[in-house]
């Protein structure tokens, strides 16, 4: 299996590449992103290409001719770039990389990163959607994720190959750039005054594992990948020893501006999560991907505030 990892410069992409390196059925790993990987790679190769530079990206992917694509290059607004740059990069990366890979004719499987944001929030929607729930995003990032799924599914249908759309719960961790993580780590965190809805989180490791399993098993269709259990906004704030600040109505606009001044710009989908919660039924993914020991949501939340074990300096045992 020759795997192309888009978005290898991110935490998830880097970890996906590391996990792929440890597998013997993966012969070659090549990654692209606008920044270099976050860890030392053993045998994966990296090319620094800004996804918005389509010609360069298409030429590179066509030259490599991957048999599998781990499309991690779905950029969350305010995670590592501005909302506009994130949307443009995601769109360009999806169409250029997946399209070029499919045109080579060698491609036989795709796994794309998506998010629970595709389900949206509001009255007529179920609070715990499963994969059969029709997506109807209500935030820019949700629409971005759904666009990626639609493009990838279309490419998969035309080439007749399996496409796994991994709808991840928000991935947070002490060293993972994430707008939600930054917001929860402010000394004072805005929380809904008249509600306390539950949301699910996912650990970086489980996110990367789901990618590798979905690719190696050739899964087709969407999968909700979430940590077990849930946490609420008030609870998450207290788990980190932060002070919850009740906010309602127009106060959220003020809170968003205040958070941005404090160094944590908050995109709409994070406000949506804080106000309306975001959970999904992830039982199918556990079954299909054979994931065991998925880190529970509250544990992921506690990990977000832990500082002692930020960077694993030890190389993994397989390489040593």
């Amino acid at each position: 299996m020759r795997v192309l990892v888009t978005g290898m410069g991110g935490e998830i992409g880097t970890r996906v590449a590391q996990l792929l390196e440890a597998r013997e059925d993966v012969t070659e790993i090549v990654g692209v992103d606008f920044v270099p990987p976050r860890r030392r790679m053993q045998r994966a190769e990296f090319a620094r290409i800004d996804p918005r530079n389509r010609e360069k990206l298409v030429a590179f992917v066509t030259d490599f001719a991957p048999t599998a694509v781990a499309h991690v290059g779905v950029y969350e607004p305010h995670s590592r770039m501005s909302p506009r740059a994130a949307r443009e990069s995601t769109e360009a990366c999806t169409i250029a990389a997946l399209g070029a890979a499919a045109r080579t004719g060698k491609l036989d499987r795709i796994a794309v990163r998506s998010g629970l944001e595709v389900y949206g929030r509001g009255r007529p929607r179920p609070s715990v959607p499963d994969e059969n729930t029709p997506p109807s995003p209500t935030s820019p990032y949700g629409r971005e994720c759904l666009d990626v799924e639609v493009v990838a599914t279309g490419i998969g249908r035309r080439a007749d190959i399996p496409v796994a759309a991994l709808r991840h719960a928000p991935v947070v961790g002490s060293h993972v750039p994430s707008p939600l993580g930054r917001l929860l780590r402010l000394p004072v965190v805005p929380v809904p005054a008249f509600a306390d809805p539950p949301f699910a989180l996912l650990s970086l490791e489980d996110s990367a594992r789901s990618f590798v399993e979905a690719l190696c098993r050739g899964i087709d269709g969407p999968l909700n990948v979430v940590g077990s259990g849930a946490a609420t906004s008030w609870q998450a704030t207290r788990l980190g020893g932060r002070i919850p600040f009740p906010v309602f109505g127009p106060g959220w606009t003020a809170a968003t501006h205040a958070a941005e001044l404090a160094g944590a710009p908050v995109p709409p989908h994070v406000i949506e999560l804080m106000r309306h919660g975001r959970v999904a039924d992830g039982s199918k993914a556990l079954d299909v991907l054979g994931l065991t020991g998925v880190r529970p949501t509250q544990q992921v939340c506690v990990d977000l505030f832990e500082w002692a074990v930020i960077v694993p300096l030890r190389r993994n045992e397989a390489a040593a």
Binding site: A195, P198, V279, D281
Partner: protein, 237 residues
């Protein structure tokens, strides 16, 4: 500093995944400290088992449920309790008390209102959204869930079954339950209620999952099961 939250109460050893089983409580001081520190379990449906266990004794002061055939309630694993509903709000509470006393499990109730404060409180206490996805998810997670029939207002009767939701219950045990006041003239005198559990509904034909026809048949069977309990002679309390 290692702070590991408690994610769920320890169930009986043979059913480690049964999240509804009521476990042993901690001391009051540590419980209050853990609440302040955010160290308490919350499930994806918004349920808060600690709050439920805290409020249960208070509710039990006001509601006395006499359960007939408690042995028909499952002690573990997912199941649907289809119950009648006269006024709407009280019957699910009575049923929750009955289930708690009979088999020591927490009950989930379908149909949390979509109202800001009230809906959130209802979810805390075990309510789930009125959607077939939510019902399917709660059953897959192994909960015991009450699906009330339609309101019959002050009459005792079996109301309309929620056919569009029952599709999620296909393949799970469906148990009809009758809840009615125990006092004279159909009044819950001194908070006394009779809860009668019927035998689990068995579909005639092989049910196909996600099949609307099978769902409609199952819903009708469940409604008939509740009606049969109503028509049966009242138990001597």
């Amino acid at each position: 500093m290692t702070r590991v939250p408690v994610f769920k109460d320890p169930g009986p050893p043979d059913e480690p995944d049964d999240v509804d089983t009521i476990g042993s409580g901690a001391s009051l001081a540590s419980a209050v400290k853990n609440r302040v520190d955010g160290l308490y379990p919350i499930d994806p449906f918004g349920g808060d088992p600690q709050i439920q266990d805290l409020l249960a004794p208070l509710v039990q002061l006001g509601v006395r449920a006499h359960v007939t055939h408690p042995e028909l309630l499952p002690a573990s694993g997912p199941a649907v309790l289809v119950s009648n509903r006269g006024l709407g709000v009280v019957e699910p509470v009575v049923l929750a008390v009955a289930v708690r006393e009979a088999v020591g499990r927490r009950l989930r109730v379908l149909g949390a209102p979509e109202i800001p404060l009230l809906g959130d409180a209802a979810r805390r206490l075990g309510g789930i959204g009125y959607h077939h996805e939510d019902l399917a998810a709660v059953l897959r997670a192994g909960h015991l869930v009450a699906v009330p029939l339609g309101n019959t207002w002050l009459r005792t009767g079996a109301g309309e079954p929620p056919v569009s939701l029952i599709v999620a219950a296909l393949g799970f045990p469906v148990i009809p339950v009758l809840v009615r006041p125990a006092g004279p003239f159909g009044v819950p005198w001194l908070g006394r209620w009779n809860v009668t559990v019927g035998p689990a509904v068995v579909p005639d034909a092989e049910v196909a999952l996600d099949d609307p026809l099978s769902a409609a048949e199952l819903a009708e069977l469940a409604r008939a099961g509740v009606q049969a309990l109503i028509d049966a002679p009242a138990p001597t309390a």
